[in-house]
């Protein structure tokens, strides 16, 4: 099929543009709603403390080679000392915060709210698209696809000879869904709830953060080989100055 179908201008006016506008607006709405709903969260003191301890341990590990060996060892003992080291979590307590995290009603409610605020607008919009905008060709995608995509992209259109490039509005919806992520990150700033891929990654790392991290940090600290870099600095300074002078 090499000829171009001529599509009614009304399709453009009443399908493509409104669908895109609606999706953008729903995204913005979702962003503001999630911001409003999120403001009632009081951070737990204990968890914040643990987080800060982890940050300190990480800084120590990263900058270990700038301090003399003795100071490094002293700091490391402070963190990983068996009795009262900050990072050492007694075995019995290790499981508790994690279980508490999941059974804590606040956390569960928050996660559920976030999930719902993602899923419901998508589901509603999809149902709306299916109901109103099905059964006709909505757009032409500028690149050719194989026949296997036909059933996926053209599901409202029952003609099998139409070029696969002519797609139904459902596929326009999906195209918008993925493509508007970039647009949202531009107009809403970084902290937007519409970027579902990023949030999936955050969600998977969330549940095990507190307890496993402490153990991991402790192991990391124990592993570090300390090599004091400062004695070499005089030679390095000499080399730099020599280069400047010559």
């Amino acid at each position: 099929m090499a000829e171009d179908l001529v599509l009614d201008t009304a399709i453009r006016d009443w399908v493509l543009i409104p669908l895109s506008i609606v999706m953008v607006l729903i995204g913005v709405l979702r962003y503001f709603v999630s911001k409003l709903m999120r403001s009632t969260q009081v951070p737990d003191g204990k968890i914040v403390k643990e987080g800060q301890v982890i940050v300190r341990a990480r800084n120590l590990r990263a900058a270990a080679n700038f301090i003399p060996p003795k100071s490094f060892r002293a700091r490391r003992a402070y963190f990983s000392n068996e009795e009262n080291g900050l990072l050492h979590v007694p075995k019995g307590q290790a499981q508790n915060p994690q279980a508490q995290m999941f059974s804590d009603p606040n956390m569960a409610m928050d996660m559920m709210k976030k999930n719902l605020s993602m899923i419901i607008p998508q589901t509603l919009t999809f149902a709306w698209v299916n109901f109103f905008f099905s059964g006709f060709v909505a757009a032409k995608i500028p690149f050719p696809l194989t026949q296997r995509f036909r059933s996926m992209l053209q599901n409202g259109i029952d003609l099998s000879t139409v070029d696969v490039s002519y797609v139904s509005s459902r596929s326009w919806y999906f195209l918008n869904l993925f493509g508007l992520r970039g647009l949202f990150s531009l107009i809403l700033g970084e902290d937007n709830a519409t970027d579902d891929a990023q949030r999936m990654m955050q969600m998977s790392g969330f549940g095990f953060d507190p307890t496993k991290n402490l153990g991991a940090e402790k192991d990391g600290l124990d592993i570090v080989q300390h090599e004091w870099a400062l004695p070499k600095f005089e030679q390095r300074a000499e080399a730099v100055l020599r280069k400047l002078v010559s």
């Binding site: 171009d4 179908l5 001529v6 599509l7 009614d8 201008t9 399709i11 453009r12 493509l16 895109s20 990263a62 900058a63 080679n65 700038f66 757009a139 032409k140 995608i141 500028p142 690149f143 050719p144 326009w172 195209l175 918008n176 993925f178 493509g179 508007l180 992520r181 970039g182 647009l183 990150s185 531009l186 970084e190 870099a229 070499k232 600095f233 390095r236």
Partner: protein, 121 residues
């Protein structure tokens, strides 16, 4: 130590500690630089999509155009970083490849949109 002490008017910030052999990175500045790359790529892929649609690129040529736009973005970022990539980012891959596929979806969306509006309707 030149760790982001407001020495440039652009939003790129130096992220290495110049006095050490060890490459330490100021994480906050590194992240801010990453964001700059991401925004530039997203913005340019949207604009590139609209241009490709208006000019009527079909099929493979459109994707070639996308690669071209991404290459131009990388080149511009490299030039902005005054060709010393390692004082702003940790690896070359960041400048070249990061945000590539995220931009692809936006590119395709705006390409389809512009193409349809201009050529089909």
């Amino acid at each position: 130590m030149a760790v982001g002490h407001g020495d440039s008017s652009s939003s790129d910030k130096k992220s290495t500690d110049a006095l050490s052999d060890l490459q330490t990175f100021n994480a906050e500045n590194l992240q801010s630089n990453m964001k700059v790359i991401y925004y530039s790529r997203t913005f340019l892929s949207i604009i590139g999509g609209v241009i490709a649609g208006i000019l009527g690129f079909k099929g493979l040529i459109g994707f070639v155009f996308y690669f071209l736009v991404m290459a131009v973005t990388s080149a511009a970022l490299t030039a902005k970083a005054k060709f010393s990539i390692h004082s702003y980012f940790d690896t070359w891959n960041r400048v070249l490849l990061d945000g590539f596929f995220g931009g692809l979806m936006s590119f395709v969306l705006f390409w389809t949109f512009a193409y349809d509006i201009v050529h089909i309707f």
